[in-house]
């Protein structure tokens, strides 16, 4: 049975069409794998009834010969996506008991294409975190371990449950969302592929908002081809999201030729960080060489405002979040605190929000409220917006100079131990996003793919950043890198 769950989307699609396997079989295998993987805490809410029903429908559709690529593919769905009638809590107590009466656009498109939902996946609360430790469900666990050390490692965040589930073969692929690196960092930590498309590619309708100008959904898959297939099903114009782009969606998979001869790849010097592990530097250099060997021109480039990206991000994202999370007030849905006699509306707000939000969310709401407040707005929020414009211009300049894609490390380290950062300054945790936030600030597509392992056997990822709306080209470059890197390692099953 494990063979079935380790299938990739493309393999399963072909096998389903040939009749070698049914969606029902794939789905049962996944459900069994999920049941046996409680230790990973990746799935926080299982939906076997929905899965079996969808699988049966998919099998009928496949039989009828009317089956899109995603038809019959069992997926995990990040808890940030609103799924109709199914708990959708953004891993927060404040949304305790909330079951939306609507289905997000992205999941609607996936299910319309015949995909099967196995359940909801763990994540950092409201997607705020880089280790999955802010989840109200407790953290998901990385299936990878350091050599023989059985210390539990983080799967990364915020899409840690998605990363853990895909990496451990509990599902064929999963949805993720990425506001500052929440798809790419966990993908890198768990040896899988994750792409954040251009801002506006995927509809945000029905995805619980963290920072609206940065949030994007994307697929988390076992390889680049799967990312291409699944992304195509997820994206497209949605009139219900004003920031969704009215652009045609190309056949991304058809663009995976592996031919990158003559492409220009930029290596940004500002991404060499002090104190970055040597292994990351080495991997980056290896990636550079692999792309060069594949026929790309490698150029050293400068993105001069990179060092301001993290501070700007940690102003803009909390500012938007402080406003986006104001709706969780206990009035209409989710958690409402039990009140004492004489308590009024202010006490209801205060108690509800104090009980419902975890510490990291509270911290960001306070930071966001502060940077938007009268007297500080120009010094923080407005300045951060200006920085954002400059960062975007950095990228525009190199693209205008002929660069097709930019190669960087995905993360400054391999997966770290759960609890390791507990007492650390929160800024240290924020540093996880140092290579990824620039991409969100500039609204660009970025992909993380596994490219090697460190001395302890943990996967390491590289990131490629592409031109806006050119995910197809970016995926093809990633495909070439993937072919060259030949990463096939899998975590040993211990759960």
């Amino acid at each position: 049975m494990t063979d079935l769950t380790s299938m990739k989307i493309a393999e399963a699609r072909d096998a389903l069409r040939k009749g070698n396997v049914t969606s029902a079989e794939l789905t049962e295998a996944c459900l069994t794998a999920i049941e046996g993987a409680g230790a990973l805490n990746a799935f926080v809410h299982n939906t076997p009834e929905i899965a079996r029903e969808q699988a049966a429908a998919a099998d009928a559709r496949i039989k009828a010969g009317d089956a899109p690529a995603m038809c019959g593919i069992p997926l995990g769905i990040k808890d940030l996506f609103c799924t109709k009638g199914v708990p959708s809590q953004a891993a927060s107590n404040i949304l305790g008991g909330f079951k939306p009466e609507y289905e997000s656009t992205v999941t609607t498109q996936l299910f319309d294409a015949g995909a099967v939902m196995l359940g909801k996946l763990n994540m950092d609360e409201f997607a705020m975190g880089s280790s999955n430790e802010t989840s109200c469900y407790g953290n998901a666990v990385n299936p990878w371990r350091r050599g023989n050390d059985d210390a539990a490692l983080t799967p990364g965040g915020s899409s840690g449950g998605s990363a853990s589930a895909v990496s451990a073969d509990l599902c064929l692929a999963a949805t993720g969302t990425d506001t500052g690196g929440s798809i790419r960092q966990p993908a890198a930590f768990t040896g899988i592929t994750g792409i954040k498309p251009t801002y506006g590619r995927c509809s945000r309708w029905g995805i619980v908002a963290f920072a609206s100008s940065l949030d994007q959904a994307g697929p988390m898959t076992k390889d680049v081809r799967d990312a291409a297939i699944m992304l195509e099903a997820m994206c497209g114009h949605d009139p219900k999201d004003s920031t969704s782009a009215d652009l045609a969606v190309p056949n991304f998979e058809a663009m995976l030729t592996g031919d990158i001869k003559g492409k220009t790849i930029g290596i940004p010097k500002e991404y060499h960080m002090d104190g970055m592990p040597e292994e990351i530097e080495a991997l980056w250099a290896e990636g550079r060489k692999m792309l060069q060997d594949a026929g790309a021109n490698i150029v050293d480039i400068s993105l001069p405002h990179t060092k301001y990206a993290l501070p700007a991000y940690y102003v803009i994202a909390p500012a938007e979040a402080s406003s986006n999370l104001a709706r969780y007030d206990g009035v209409r849905y989710g958690h409402r605190a039990t009140l004492s006699a004489g308590d009024g509306i202010t006490e209801m707000y205060e108690k509800t929000r104090a009980e419902g939000f975890g510490h990291e969310v509270q911290r960001r709401v306070m930071v966001g409220t502060y940077v938007l407040s009268a007297g500080f707005y120009d010094a923080y929020y407005n300045r951060a917006r200006k920085v954002r414009t400059l960062i975007k211009k950095d990228f525009e300049d190199v693209f205008a100079a002929g660069v097709d894609a930019i190669l960087t490390p995905a993360t400054p380290s391999a997966a770290f131990g759960l609890g390791e950062m507990e007492d650390a300054d929160p800024v240290k945790m924020y540093l996880n996003d140092v290579f990824t936030v620039t991409v969100n600030l500039a609204g660009l597509p970025g992909i993380a793919i596994p490219a090697g392992v460190d001395k302890q056997g943990l996967p390491l990822g590289l990131q490629l950043i592409g031109r806006p709306w050119e995910e197809g080209d970016l995926l093809n470059t990633a495909y070439a890198l993937e072919q060259a890197a030949g990463f096939v390692a899998k975590p040993g099953k211990w759960w």
């Binding site: 959708s88 609206s212 004003s242 920031t243 709706r327 409220t369």
Partner: protein
């Protein structure tokens, strides 16, 4: 094109304090509900009076992950309003979030336009009396969503929330501090309401809260306002207080009066006005402090990241401009010019566009504007008012009224008979000409018939004839007798002439 009639500015209202004279300076922020079937950012209905929480889309109740999408029609209406107020239209504007917590504000923020409003500077001519009007400058109009309604009086322990109004589109029309008295403030709101109703962009129903005003009031010594006008420096003016949420013209005047006296008393006692928000209590006729400047909310405005900046095209604006109806000032000027009406009559007739249209139909069909104006204002409006009917409910159509007027003009009936005829048409209906014919109401202009009647009266009243010989003024008595004898149908002019002639002949 004659846009409006020439006018002079009224004198500012002077208020005598215990020590000095004072003047008022008033600016208003008017919230006008956009006439639209759907809300600003959702497809939910805006129908008034529906069951609580029945006109609520997911985005209105701020369900997680729901996103606003601009209703283009609301933007069109706001642009139309801007054009009607002769204002600049900003082709690029943007929406901002105004953050505060309140149970009837589900998102925890109101989507509004602080930094880049849709409409810029415009103006309103506020008529005070014929030839006298105040030009009030408009600073800006921005588009924003309304909040819901909190209900506190249904349960001793709980409050309830109705989200039907949540997300309904409002235009906030912000004036400069150009209003100089309570009457002007009320007249300004009335004029805005009139223009918006002409444009069809707001129904102006104040009872339903579809038009509400925040009134900023300050007082200054005579001469200070002129300094402000020269420099646009607000330091020449007094500290203002904002009276929130007024929806009655009468209460606005009373609140301003009260507030002016309150401020003057403080200042004359050597005190200082605190900038604050106040509420007017109509029962006690007083304003009370709601919150001071220090307690003011920090709204943490920032651009709404869910909405891209709003970009509209000049061609679209031009199309809307081309479809604009004739507005009250232009219509009034045209009525004065084309129909020779007094400014007063033109004012009355243009107050509501339906009245003006009715009048124009009558005037056109009757071929006499002045007569049409008299009949519409005096007879028709008077009669409708008696039964509390609107002009839409008038049983007399413009064609019928024009028919009556035409009969007067052709001397077929006298003015007196015309009033009887109007009453018949009003109560029974029918074609005036046919009624006059069938009921023999036609005026007798046949001199032969009138002469016979005059001769008859003269022959029957020799004593009166003798008296009339001494006193020619008694001729009137004979005229009256003839009119009576002919049932009022004789042409009075012809009777007069004949009576004078016959009496003279006898003498």
């Amino acid at each position: 094109m004659l846009d409006h009639l020439s006018f002079e500015s009224p004198k500012p209202k002077l208020i005598s304090g215990a020590k000095h004279d004072w003047e008022l300076v008033i600016g208003m922020e008017v919230h006008a509900q956009v006439a639209s079937k759907a809300k600003l950012f959702s497809g939910a209905s805006t129908q008034f009076g529906a069951e609580p929480n029945s006109n609520v889309a997911f985005v209105d109740s701020a369900m997680p992950g729901m996103l606003p999408v601009i209703n283009e029609y609301c933007i069109e209406q706001a642009v139309r309003t801007g054009l009607g107020l002769k204002a600049e239209i900003n082709l690029k504007s943007a929406f901002d979030r105004k953050n505060y917590f309140y149970p009837d504000l589900p998102q925890g923020y109101q989507i509004s336009q602080l930094y880049h409003p849709l409409v810029g500077e415009g103006e309103v001519i506020v008529d005070m009396e014929p030839g006298v009007a105040r030009l009030v400058r408009i600073e800006r109009i921005h588009v924003e969503q309304d909040a819901g309604k909190s209900v506190h009086d249904m349960d001793p322990n709980m409050s309830f929330v109705d989200l039907n109004r949540t997300g309904v589109a409002l235009m906030e029309i912000v004036s400069r501090p150009d209003i100089r008295g309570p009457e002007e403030a009320a007249a300004y709101l009335a004029k805005l309401r009139q223009i918006l109703r002409y444009l069809g962009t707001c129904d102006g129903n104040m009872q339903n809260g579809n038009m509400r005003a925040d009134v900023n009031v300050s007082v200054c010594r005579p001469g200070q306002y002129e300094k402000y006008q020269e420099t646009q420096d607000f330091s020449h003016l007094g500290t203002r207080c904002e009276i929130k949420n007024m929806n009655s013209m009468r209460f606005i005047q009373m609140a301003i009066d009260y507030e002016a006296k309150r401020q003057i008393a403080i200042l004359e006692a050597g005190g200082k006005i605190d900038q604050e928000t106040r509420l007017y209590d109509a029962d006690k006729n007083e304003t009370r402090s709601m919150r001071s400047k220090e307690e003011a909310h920090d709204y943490r405005y920032f651009p709404d990241p869910d909405l891209l900046p709003l970009e509209i095209e000049q061609a679209w604006v031009d199309d809307i401009a081309a479809s604009l109806p004739e507005l009250p000032d232009e219509k009034k000027a045209r009525f004065v010019k084309d129909f020779g009406l007094s400014e007063y009559d033109a004012d009355v007739l243009t107050a509501e566009v339906v009245n003006a249209s009715y009048f124009e139909e009558v005037a056109g069909a009757a071929g006499d504007g002045k007569l049409a104006a008299n009949w519409v204002i005096n007879e028709l409006f008077g009669r409708l008012k008696k039964e509390d009917h609107s002009i839409e409910e008038s049983p007399v159509s413009p064609t019928q009224l024009a028919g009556i007027i035409k009969l007067i003009k052709s001397d077929a009936i006298s003015g007196k008979i015309a009033k009887d005829l109007f009453e018949i048409v009003y109560t029974e209906g029918g074609d005036p000409e046919v009624i006059v014919e069938e009921r023999g109401m036609k005026q007798v202009t046949d001199t032969g018939a009138i002469e016979a009647a005059v001769d008859e009266i003269i022959a029957a009243n020799p004593a009166q004839v003798e008296k009339a010989k001494q006193n020619p003024k008694l001729a009137g008595w004979f005229v009256g007798q003839v009119m009576k004898a002919t049932g009022g149908k004789a042409n009075p002019k012809a009777v007069n002439e004949l009576v004078s002639k016959k009496l003279a002949d006898l003498g």
